[in-house]
C-alpha cells in the first residue's frame, strides 16, 4: 500500500508537469481558456501529490 501511494504521488507530480506544459503550450496556441484550465489542473495535481506525503499533526 505504501509503495502504491508513493507511486501515486510521483505520478501526480509528473501529471502536474505535463499539465503545466500543456497550459503554456495552449497559451502559445492562443487558446486562453484551455491554458487556464491546464494551469489550474496542474496546480491541483501538484497539491494532491504533496498532500499525499504530509501527515497532519495529531490532535491532542
Amino acid at each position: 500500500m505504501r509503495k502504491i501511494i508513493d507511486a501515486l504521488s510521483i505520478l501526480l507530480l509528473l501529471g502536474g508537469a505535463a499539465a503545466f506544459a500543456l497550459g503554456v503550450r495552449a497559451l502559445g496556441d492562443e487558446r486562453d481558456l484551455a491554458s487556464l484550465y491546464w494551469l489550474v489542473a496542474g496546480a491541483l495535481l501538484l497539491r494532491s501529490s504533496t498532500d499525499l506525503l504530509r501527515p497532519k499533526p495529531e490532535s491532542r
Partner: protein, 259 residues
Amino acid sequence: MQATAWAKLVVYGRGRGGIVRVMAADVEERAANELLRRANVLLPGMYAWAATVLYPSSLHGASTPARIVAGVALATLLVGVAVSRRRPSLGRALALHGFVVLCVLAWLLLGSIIAVDRLEPIKAALGALGWVLFAFGWGGSREPEHVPEDDPRALPGDPLAPRGKLPDGAVVVLSLAIAGAALPLLLAWRVTRSAHALFAHAVAIGCAVALVSAGADIAVRRGRWSAVEPQTRRLGQAAASLTILAIVIVVGALEFLAN
C-alpha cells in the same frame, strides 16, 4: 588568513631572510585577492550598466534627468568599489544597493524608451547576463585549504551529523521534477503575442519553481512519512485536493466531448 600567515612563518621562516620573503609573499597574495574581488564586481557591473543603462540613455529622446541619474549610478559603483577595502559596509551600500537603486531609477525615468516592444532581444539578454555576473561577483567562495570552523570567530559546538539517508530513488524523482520544470520554460518561447509572451514567461517560471519545490518535497519526505499507519490515512489527507482535481478532470472531459 592570519593563521595561514603565521603557519608559513613557523614552517618557512627559519633561514636568514625567510620571514621577510614569506611576509612579502603574503602581502602580494592579499593584494592579488583584493584586486580579483574588485574586478569581479567592477567589470560585470560596468558591463551591465553599459548594456542596460548607458545604451538606452544615449538614444535620442532620453530625458536629461535619466542621463544624469545614469551617470551618478556609474559614479556610485566606482566610488563604492574604491572604498570597499577600507569601509566594506559603505562600499557595499554604494556599489551594490546605491548602484542598483539608481539604475532602476534611470530605467523609470527612461520610460517608453525601454518598452518591451522596443527592446533588442540579444542586447537585452546580454545585459541580463551582465547583471547575473554582477550578482555573482558579490558572492564569495571558500578558499582552498581553508576550514571555516578554524576561524576564531566560529561558534564552538557539536558537529551536525546528518539525521538520515535520502530515501531510495530521491535523485530520480528530483531529476524528473527538474526535467518537467524545463518544459514550460521552453514552451514559453512559443508564445508570439507580445502581451501574452511576458505573462507566459512569468507563468512558466512560477510553474517551474512549484514543480521543483514539490519534487524536492516528494523526493525527501517520501521516506520520512512512510511510517504513517494506516497508509490509507495519507489518502484521507489528500481527499479534498483529490476531489477537486477529479471534478476539474470530469469538467474538462465533458467539455472535450461536447466539442
